[in-house]
């Protein structure tokens, strides 16, 4: 059994709620989207965070994950997402995440409905685990534990993210495997 083919995308937080309120729209090209995480130089970029005045936050970024080819499998489930390595020196520097659903999820509980132009105060947020979570922590819009595969997945997983940079954090560019300045995450799922 081949592993499914997956992709990560990001899209501008200016995308409207209506453009994301069906699975079909979320699976199709989203306005202004770009595919990310295919290699070095293609990362999700949180930009520059100025801590000259103390602790500060990055802008909110959107992350979308889905499967584009099932590899002969019929099911994916148990989605796990975590910050697997970082070079931060301050314990207060963390990544905040919020699982996001489209507006078609009328009663979100494990997710929150997408909001246009989200800022830190828009969602509840949780701190992203820095070791593999013990249970699913990101979800498709129906908040199920699985997605059916039929050529592709039947929905996507959306997550909003931002970085809290603590006061006195060591300045520099944090990305990938840069020694001492790592900034890398992991995504894991089961399939059959």
């Amino acid at each position: 059994m081949a592993a499914p083919t997956v992709r990560f995308r990001t899209f501008p937080i200016t995308v409207s709620v209506a453009e994301l309120d069906t699975a079909g729209e979320r699976l199709a090209a989203i306005a202004g989207q770009s595919v990310i995480s295919t290699g070095a130089g293609n990362e999700l970029d949180f930009g520059t965070v100025d801590i000259s005045g103390g602790a500060a936050n990055s802008l909110v970024k959107m992350l979308v994950w889905d499967i584009t080819a099932d590899g002969g499998n019929t099911l994916v489930e148990d989605f796990l997402f975590w910050l697997s390595s970082n070079g931060f020196d301050q314990a207060g520097t963390v990544v905040k995440f919020q699982p996001i659903s489209g507006d078609d999820q009328g009663t979100p509980s494990n997710t929150e409905n997408y909001i246009v132009n989200a800022v830190v105060g828009s969602y509840t947020w949780a701190t992203l685990d820095e070791s593999e979570p013990g249970a699913q922590n990101v979800y498709p819009s129906d908040e199920g534990s699985s997605m059916v595969l039929s050529t592709a997945a039947d929905d996507v997983i959306m997550v909003a993210l931002y970085v809290v940079v603590a006061d006195n954090e060591t300045t520099g560019t944090y990305k990938g495997t840069d020694a001492g300045n790592e900034f890398q995450y992991s995504f894991k799922y089961s399939y059959s």
Partner: protein, 129 residues
């Protein structure tokens, strides 16, 4: 494209013949099925007495003789550690008593194995059927 062709036709079920030195076997009283020639979805799971994975020369076996055995269960972990995009590829074979999954997790790359337990509820959709 024929207008009657479904737009989301599933791809053909994959066989482990894609890989070197890696496969699973499913033993029934009348036959041993090999994942290089038959996909796990097409196995008569109600007849299986033993599930074996062979990965890089290492063999791991699960059988149905335990007193609490209820069903075989198997899945694979995929994903990436984005530290240079290191793939996650783990073959998992095991059994469940309907409460817990008792799994042997086998690294695709080198065949090393770790035993782990999971709540059955989290993985029950992977039951072989």
């Amino acid at each position: 494209m024929n207008s009657n062709t479904p737009s989301n036709t599933p791809t053909a079920r994959h066989l482990d013949s894609e890989y070197r030195r890696r496969w699973e076997t499913y033993t029934t009283p009348g036959q041993v099925y090999d994942s290089r020639t038959v996909n796990w979805h097409d196995i008569p799971w109600d007849q299986v007495t033993q599930l074996q994975a062979s990965v890089e020369g290492h063999e791991y076996t699960v059988d149905n003789t335990g007193p609490r055995f209820q069903s075989f269960i198997r899945w694979r972990w995929g994903g990436f550690h984005y530290n240079g995009k290191v793939p996650i590829n783990v073959w998992c074979i095991g059994w469940t008593d309907g409460v817990t999954c008792f799994m042997k997790e086998i690294e695709f790359k080198d065949g090393s194995m770790t035993e782990k337990e999971y709540p059955f509820e989290q993985f029950k959709k992977h039951l072989g059927d």
